[in-house]
Amino acid sequence: MEQQRPTGVEQEGLTTTETPAAPKVKAHQTPDDVIHLMEKDQTQDVDTLVPLPFPYEDWKDTPIPTLSDEQRSRFEVGPDGVSALQIPKPATEEEKEERVAQFLAGLAKLLDREDNWTFLQPLMLSLENCVKCQTCNDSCGIYTDSGRAEMYRPTFRGEVLRRIIDRYIKPGGGILPGLRGHDIKVDWNMIVNLAELSYRCTLCRRCAQACPIGVDNGLISREIRKLFSQELGIAMPELHTLGTVKQLKTGSSTGLNPAGVADVIEFAEEDIQEKAGLEVKIPFNKEGAEYLVMHNAGEFLSWPENLQAFVIILEKAGVSWTMASEPVGYDSVNYGLFYDDVQYSRIVLKHYGIAKSLGVKKILEGECGHAHKAAMPVADRLVPRDMFVPTESSLVLLEDIVMNDRIKLDPSRNDFPVTLHDPCNITRSMGIIQPQRNILKKICPQFREMTPHGVDNYCCGGGSGFAVGNSVNFPDWRTRVAGRMKFRQILNAFSDSIGPETNKYVCAPCSNCKGQLRDIIRYYEGWDRCRILYGGLVELIVNAMVDVPEGFLEWEFH
């Protein structure tokens, strides 16, 4: 598969919006700077954010709201004044010490082969081999677009963790780090900051790709999250209590139970009849089908046209497929990927178990990036062979259907500017680059790439579950800081037709990315000012299908 590596100016990717140099802080931190930074308040100032290109030169960001005193009396915030985790404040000093002891005991387990057989090897390779050259720094959109805030530097969390390990876990730790001139004292405040900062990295792994030796600081963030979740019960509520726990209890992270799914499906069948003139019964629990199709259930509720487009394509192309009505089997979400091995395993085994009981040949992942990674490369590493079910990306099947003319298409129906946002988990983590491009080049006459793209894409800023983080001031940080790079890329991709007189479409084949795109386009008023819409890939395919009446794609922002 071709891996696209832009060169020269493109490599920087920011032709008209070059990230301003002149960092407010010195370019290279000394060991003591790192520790010092963990102790001070560094509220993100929106005036340091990278400016937006035309037509946003006069754009003024509203500040990220600060938490009320009442909220701050109940839970902790990160060094930037943002709370992703709502960590309850311990009532007493003893409780704080107890929590710190739990953290250190958990850290020892994280570094032990018995307790962390899953990711110990890549974790150690990354912790022990980083030479602190900082080559990765500028690959991180959160770091650059924040105005180069030190705490978001990709190496920062790993460096803090490394020092804690040197001091508290390694033999001789009481003496040697002091001699090296960078002692560290772990207290409650430090572990709160470390936990919060592990949720300021989207795990997009662009830094790992930039590293000359492949040090994966994204994995370090993920393993820090795991330590906090598995040992201290600290995790983003939307991922844990309202995510995996809810999914295992009700059947879906959305809370959809089987009766709710039946209602969604009935509605989809009616809609397909009305919009596509196709009478269809969506297959459920069909034993021995070739594909068990699994969607992120968020699609059912927020983007039902995605589910419907899949149905139309699979039916028209004559694919043998089914969906599953058993709880968890109708929701491909596996947020455990982002923060917890135990929750990950519970869900992936449930998915595979349902596929096995139906006797399907393969699972087909719909347009959801993290579900791809959870069910394919990570499952390859973690799931025993006898429990494994072969899994395929829908992008690959769709490429076969479109490129081999298994459905009739009229590209002139898609004659508007289209660009592609690459979901990190599908591109960088899996190398699926060309199928989605081949499709778009065939069906969208005005397709243009973002810069950079493919394996060099930037995260939407909603990765690793950030897009579902909707509490307190986290979404305000997510749109202004984490999502800024993506919005700049979108504006640049459409610079030839940026005005509101032209409808434009950002194709993002991933539910999580779509949630984030919706939120950044809304925050930056991209629909009202520039008529920028976002959506999936299958919607564009169906919009071009000759057998479907024109106008499947609705130019209404939602």
Binding site: Q71, G255, L256, D263, V264, A297, L301, V468, S471, S511
Partner: protein, 105 residues
Amino acid sequence: MPTFTHGEVSIDVDEDGFMSEPDKWNETVAAAIATTEGVEGLTEEHWKVVNYLRDYYLKFGVAPMIRKLCKETGFKLNKIYELFPSGPAKGACKVAGLPKPTGCV
């Protein structure tokens, strides 16, 4: 857990003002929550949306898909934004006493 108080109404809510115990909802509670959502008085159109959301939630345990909400109430999405400036998920569902939507929605 934060408490939201308005007039006679006092209810437990999450950090973003969604009810923690949706079964304690009633029309007075709805009117009280509406004041936090930039809604000046609940009109018949507001109640149409709120009642539909409420009934759906009691039946299926979730908020309905937005498309269905629009279809069943006959309101276009921008009309729902006019009625509830924070939108169907953050605004209308909150007034209808639903817990905050979860998952990739």
